[in-house]
């Protein structure tokens, strides 16, 4: 009884959410599918009001101070609202928030300058967290709500990309622990979870606009390796990877690229899946229709 009450409380937990810029635009499929899946699983998601861009690569690259200042404002907004965990869908936003927090907590003088600018120092009350762990844990808890065997025939090459593949002390991200949970979940749905060789290779998204020839080459090998290992789709965990893997996909050889959140939405039979799938540049519908998945 007690355990049940606890579980009920747990499932009504509010998740505070930092969207980040690409999630509101080119990666809307990821955000929308996340929000629907989260609500299907009984998670309440609240967007951080008045959030600003984390500064991404450009800030720390050419204006080091802004690389700390921009994420810090979001941390302060969250701290002032008593938010302990601030969830991101984008690994890059996560790393910027984590990095700024670490550096400011270690440097009193810089933190004092943050106070002069935004009105408070970063106290460290708010911690950034990445969505994957909490989503997979609730998904495996409620796995009976997903149709077992519904992914029969789907041969997935999970693509973790750069930031989720590092040791934790490098980026603050633990991209390794959720892999087992994901594997278990996929097995339950009877999808194949392939080992294919380039799951941890960087896709070159950071230079996708300025050095397209580099990302063309990196992305082409990602699709080719996955195909060679027998995959019929790639599954990604990052809005920048998704954009790049579709945008620079090698014509005829291109595999459909699905967000892990879309995959869960399909497994849950959520009605909007068709809508997101229609916005992909590499159309996943022929594959899914052929396998009678969506």
């Amino acid at each position: 009884m007690k355990a049940q009450t606890l579980r009920a409380l747990e499932s009504e937990r509010v998740i505070s959410f930092y969207p980040g810029c690409s999630l509101t635009s080119s990666a809307r499929e990821m955000m929308e599918s996340y929000l629907e899946v989260a609500s299907f699983f009984g998670l309440r998601v609240q967007t951080l009001e008045d959030w600003n861009c984390c500064g991404s690569t450009p800030a720390h690259s050419i204006r080091g101070w802004w690389g700390l200042v921009l994420p810090a404002r979001n941390l302060l907004l969250a701290e002032s609202r008593g938010i302990e965990e601030l969830m991101t869908l984008c690994p890059s936003c996560f790393v910027r928030l984590w990095d700024s927090r670490e550096k400011l907590l270690a440097d009193e003088q810089k933190n004092k300058r943050i106070q002069d600018l935004w009105g408070a120092t970063v106290r460290g009350y708010t911690r950034p967290v990445f969505f994957l762990e909490s989503l997979l844990s609730v998904a495996s808890e409620k796995v009976e709500t997903l149709a077992p065997g519904s992914f029969r025939g789907l041969r997935i090459a999970p693509y973790y990309g750069c930031l989720l593949s590092r040791q934790r002390w490098v980026t603050g991200l633990d991209g390794h622990s959720p892999r087992k949970a994901l594997g278990d979940l996929l097995r339950r749905l009877e999808a194949q979870d392939l080992k294919w060789g380039l799951e941890e290779q960087c896709c070159g998204a950071g230079l996708a606009v300025t050095k397209p020839e580099l990302s063309h080459r990196l992305v082409a090998s990602i699709h080719r390796y996955a195909r060679r290992a027998g995959a019929n789709c790639l599954v990604v965990f990052c809005p920048l990877c998704h954009m790049n893997l579709e945008l620079r996909a090698p014509g005829q050889e291109a595999l459909p690229v699905l967000y892990v959140t879309e995959l869960l939405a399909i497994a849950a039979g959520l009605p909007h899946a068709q809508h997101w799938l229609g916005r992909h540049l590499v159309d996943p519908k022929p594959l899914l229709n052929q396998l009678r998945i969506a």
């Binding site: 600003n52 050419i62 802004w66 916005r279 540049l281």
Partner: protein, 173 residues
Amino acid sequence: MNREFQEQVAGKGDNSFASCFHCLSCGAGCPAIELMDWRPNQVIRMIQRGMKKEVLESRTIWICIGCFNCLDQCPNRVDIPSLMDTLRHMAIEEGVRVPEPGILAFHKEFLRQVSNRGRVFEVGLMMRYKLATRSFFQDMGTGVRMMLKGRFQLTPGRVENPREFKEKLGGSS
């Protein structure tokens, strides 16, 4: 040997590049190495040799994509991505020739967007970057496809008070 540059770089950040023993792990796993003129460990050696101009004018410091593979693999935990940040900042301060003007233009336009609205408007970013680098036709087809697929947000998002945000941010460097 001229130690001035080495000390200048070390003083700018938390970089412990002195412990590099040139095992070449950093370059071996680097996804962007083919576009670099010097390998990351070579840049470290050049800093130690006082080759300021060559380092600050190198492509390598602009090409580094920040994937952290080098730091992850380094047996001495030399924070090469941060070192590259430091060197880029120095290159800008010193006003040296930037061999990758497109990359710098992209970063600048991105930050201009951030400072104006507090958020990035992807369509505006791409259009202004294309104007700045006169590369209108590169990727135009894919851009149009994404637009037709409804993949872009067509009105820019912003913080609640962009003017105040811009004033505060702009006054802080």
